[in-house]
């Protein structure tokens, strides 16, 4: 683990990561988008999406991961998710009350069904994914200077 110069891990790890990280990201998207049909949902899918970026960061070093999703972009995505979720819930007020399922229910077992639930899942996945990536970056890159007393 050549952690000193921050260039990531060995060639084997980099090759495997190049092959798998896209699949992990797609799996996270699948969990999010099918959250109203199969087990899963916004929280679990968002954590998987964050884990794909963390995977990239562990294998290739922090520069490669920040090229895909920088720290400020993570903050922006997280706030976007929160505002999307609140907006969807407030739009329910147009039909009567907070969190009203105002969209058409659709047919069960179809991807476009269940009204606002898929939209809420997507918003929560933005929030959770970007927020957990931000927490990871903050906790891992922090340097305590308690050693030199």
């Amino acid at each position: 683990m050549s952690h000193e110069h921050g260039k990531g891990m060995s060639l084997i790890v980099k090759t495997i990561t190049r092959l798998t990280v896209g699949a992990i990201f797609l799996y996270g998207m699948y969990i999010v988008l099918h959250g109203h049909l199969t087990p899963g949902g916004g929280f679990a899918g968002g954590v998987i999406i964050a884990l794909s970026f963390i995977h990239l960061m562990l294998a290739y070093g922090k520069e490669a991961a920040f090229k895909k999703l920088s720290r400020s972009a993570a903050s922006v995505w997280e706030s976007t998710g929160a505002i999307m979720f609140l907006t969807i819930s407030l739009l329910g007020l147009t039909g009567g009350y907070f969190f009203l399922n105002f969209l058409h229910k659709g047919e069960p077992f179809h991807l476009f069904s269940a009204g606002i639930i898929p939209l809420c899942n997507i918003a929560i996945s933005f929030k959770v994914g970007a927020g957990i990536f931000a927490i990871f970056v903050a906790l891992v890159l922090v340097k305590f200077d308690t050693g030199k007393k």
């Binding site: 959250g35 087990p39 929030k127 308690t146």
Partner: protein, 181 residues
């Protein structure tokens, strides 16, 4: 039922190993074994949603524990008032055990919950929300306020972590630091 007991014993053994080991990496891996067993327990109890969430959060917590705590000179307090600490711990365990002994008598039998509110969710969830995943329909339609509160908690946690550990918050008096990206 037998496999649940086996998994529970495995979790208890893993937790004791994690507390007792001196090596940090082995201890973190023992915590991971406890989390994996808990995920299998959820799967055995037919709660795949919770099992998926437990698994991914456990992996994330393991990575954070390994990368953020190992190989850093964190301050450890190994000496101290071990007798007082042990006495306090045993007292709290005894109190909790006595309270739990009285409470658990009133709980319904394991595997046969009292269905008061949730009966409506199970019977009318599909027709009223259109979501075939009943857990999704509960957390985002019937109980969406709870999800909003959870999202607020996560948002506050992210803001708190970013505010506490950023470089500019830990500078010495008179030290000049530039904010990194």
């Amino acid at each position: 039922m037998v496999e649940l007991l086996i998994l529970m014993v495995l979790m208890i053994i893993g937790a004791i190993i994690a507390v007792e080991l001196k090596d940090l990496l082995s201890s973190v891996i023992a915590v991971g074994a406890v989390g994996l067993a808990l995920s299998i327990v959820f799967l055995q109890l037919k709660a795949p949603d919770v099992a998926i969430t437990q698994l991914v959060v456990e992996i994330l917590a393991l990575i954070i524990l390994i990368r953020a705590t190992l190989k850093k000179d964190l301050p450890f307090s190994t000496t101290g008032r071990w007798l007082l600490n042990t006495v306090i711990t045993i007292c709290f365990i005894a109190i909790f055990f006595l309270v739990a002994l009285r409470c658990f008598k009133d709980l319904p039998e394991f595997g046969y919950p009292i269905m008061r509110v949730s009966k409506t969710y199970i019977q009318e969830g599909l027709s009223r929300t259109g979501a075939t995943n009943l857990v999704g329909s509960v957390i985002l339609d019937f109980r969406a306020y709870d999800t909003l509160g959870e999202a607020t908690i996560l948002f506050t946690a992210v803001i708190g972590v970013l505010a506490v550990v950023r470089r500019i918050g830990r500078k010495k008096v008179g030290e000049k630091v530039e904010e990194e990206e």
